[in-house]
Symmetry: C3
Subunit: 344 residues, 3 copies
Amino acid sequence: MAATLAELARRFGGRLRGVGDVEITGVAPLERAQSHEISYVNDPKHRRLLGACRAGAVVLTEADAAEYGGNALIVEQPQLHFARIAGFLHPSPTPRPGIHASAVVDSAARVSATASIGPHAVVQAGAVIGEGTEIGAGSYVGREAAIGAGTRLTGRVWVGERCVIGKNCLLHPGAVIGGDGFGYAKDGERWVKIPQLGRVIIGDDVEIGANTTIDRGTFNDTQIADGVKLDNLVHIGHNVRIGEHTAMAACVGVSGSVTIGRRCMFAGQVGIVDHIDIADDVVVLGKSMVASSIGQAGAYSSGIPAERAEHWRRQVVRLQQLDELARRVKQLEKEIAKLNEERS
Amino acid sequence: MAATLAELARRFGGRLRGVGDVEITGVAPLERAQSHEISYVNDPKHRRLLGACRAGAVVLTEADAAEYGGNALIVEQPQLHFARIAGFLHPSPTPRPGIHASAVVDSAARVSATASIGPHAVVQAGAVIGEGTEIGAGSYVGREAAIGAGTRLTGRVWVGERCVIGKNCLLHPGAVIGGDGFGYAKDGERWVKIPQLGRVIIGDDVEIGANTTIDRGTFNDTQIADGVKLDNLVHIGHNVRIGEHTAMAACVGVSGSVTIGRRCMFAGQVGIVDHIDIADDVVVLGKSMVASSIGQAGAYSSGIPAERAEHWRRQVVRLQQLDELARRVKQLEKEIAKLNEERS
Amino acid sequence: MAATLAELARRFGGRLRGVGDVEITGVAPLERAQSHEISYVNDPKHRRLLGACRAGAVVLTEADAAEYGGNALIVEQPQLHFARIAGFLHPSPTPRPGIHASAVVDSAARVSATASIGPHAVVQAGAVIGEGTEIGAGSYVGREAAIGAGTRLTGRVWVGERCVIGKNCLLHPGAVIGGDGFGYAKDGERWVKIPQLGRVIIGDDVEIGANTTIDRGTFNDTQIADGVKLDNLVHIGHNVRIGEHTAMAACVGVSGSVTIGRRCMFAGQVGIVDHIDIADDVVVLGKSMVASSIGQAGAYSSGIPAERAEHWRRQVVRLQQLDELARRVKQLEKEIAKLNEERS
């Protein structure tokens, strides 16, 4: 895709400064951008790169524009603006509509004529594949599952029976939607499986990372609302509900029956115990363990930064004696109080 | 599947109270169950739902039955009873026996006539597929591997050469059984691979979650005993041995050459260092790191619950000075002792 | 593969002691090795097994050889030596060259005549597959991606468009190379995707574990240097660069834009925050969180070993009051100082 800078300004807004008819064919980082590419400044650290910048245009704030002589698109949120321009200039390749000869599509599946079913994909009976939807190479759509319009299963994505995925979603390779939840009853030392009869329901504009797994509910459904973004290797247990626009970084694990609000953010490797509720606008920092419900917005943490191992080892020994140390301090306080009393 | 309440009582035990010939066609949660569905009460919190319950029957304890007027199946362990009934009423769909036209099955593989080999599955030479076994869409069974009777590889499961999986197991999509263990010798700065020549041997009634990985042993075999249940995204290193009926929640990582006893339970994101032994009946709580052998049954932990980030940050600073704090307390104790001595 | 002990000594070095023409057909652990197998002693704990050892030969140090009467290959680094011999005696099976009938290979892909393309593999237009390269069953190589000579994609490996993998690499099942990085700009409560336009570039002799994911860069490339070894279920974020011969155990998560030096080692479940630099020869112990740049070689840690849960619970309570405890100690110090002052 290509467009003049003036066209980009018209389409996405922002104040154009400089030559409007320079043709822009792509995006690039400041230090590498050429005369037909557009770049942006978001981080004050990158301002120093403006001096040597050879980009066809730069998206930046009013303040940063003052320090730059080249073609500029002046906006309030350069990263957001730039993301939109980049998406426009570099659209995802549209797969050719049609069903690949090697795909196995049940005659009782309903596949839109504009959908693309890739090599070795499988679509089972009763499944519904929407308009412009891509079922990439090796992907699997189970019985009576539904994949919304414009959604892309990039490749080797697995969607179990009766699960529902909304519109304009993007699922990366290896994602597994609708495996069984981990539910058993105890019979002496044995585990007896509780059938997992619910579904996974995913809203619109959801992105799901590579090898991420979302389990189906036990009786009710596991629900992922519109706009949720999950990174790679995330685990979502059965009966979990995640609110709109919540984002989770890689390797987060969410146990069963957790309800999470809107606009939350979870950093990498966070773990969340089962059967708790997390309010809207909660941010949980890296590697923390959420062990009870969180009723209020704000940032939460229990991660410990690594330090020199030999130093840390000493702290660990003390940590394991901490209760005793606290008692000793209490004892000291009593003795001092006594001494002070005697003195007065 | 459908059955009268009386038939369910006969088949699974429990004391029937009310109308025995009500036909039950499925299970549902208390708040949603209709007149042809059966539900259960396990958690005291759910008792309050009994008032408005419209289920055809409810499985519950004697005590809870006293508060309920409808049809009841009175038992000692409602969840266990219910799990069995649910499994009976909602059996896994039995795949049609036979080999899908798109599957690639080596002529030197032995596949039971009652087995089902799905679309795009691959079964290599010398592999043995048991009676009623399902090799789901896109699954792979390597040379001379054996998959027991009644076992289901739901879809896209990978089983490496010579690995053995027992009877009535359930493997979820993306599980990888028998990838190489992570073993190298050092040659200066380079790593030289130690060939991983062992197998993975899995017993009967084992369930393995989506995208879980179990590495083959180096010379000996990695062994997963009967009844083990592993959730999603679990990693089991080479030469590990796991005892009967042990369960691991999602994202647990077990390093190489660990031996784990029977009936253990590991909560989510637990990590276990290599070359240690863990006794029977050990429970490890969420996000803990097992850093040395555990010789005694019981609960173990090292996880820290998240709290307000600004509060936690202060604790972290103090934690990194904990050894020094302990020394200061010791010094105070000395000084107080001196003061007390002088006083007396 | 088989060889006499003398041939092994000639080929791999070491001082032969005993019968040189004993034929060795494989490797085995000390306690199981038979007269045609070779074993080794690396760990002092294993010396005691030498007495009953029936191996055709044992690789060991001069010191250990003194305690053993059988055929010996005396070397300085027995494990390294043994790894080489094991690799020679048990080579990976060479797949038959050629393209399986069920594979889908675009006519615009360049596939070496000596490469092997397995069942249900997909190779897209413009992709280049090197000499002796194996694209295992169900693997996917995207448009214009390149896979070097002698590299093995064991099975169901996914390599996205334009990604480059070097020579003699080994990728285990389920690995995803070149999924999108996790990058968004905020637009009010919504996330706007930043297109991920970079590639993943992997060097030679790299091993990548089962279900590990490596994201493509945003504008620049994610880079994995020669000799890097990644275990299973590792996540590598976009724009990460990892130096030569660095190794990561299972379940490590590396956030975006991290630069890691050479010869580093990361134990299981380590997490690394984004946008930091880690020097050469850094070792990070299990479950630690690297929260800031590490400029110096050495060992780092923040993991806490699990202990009895009831004991640990008390420490956690104290940990959450640690800042207050430190203040109390400071107060005590003041009071003692005052008492001491008065006394003198």
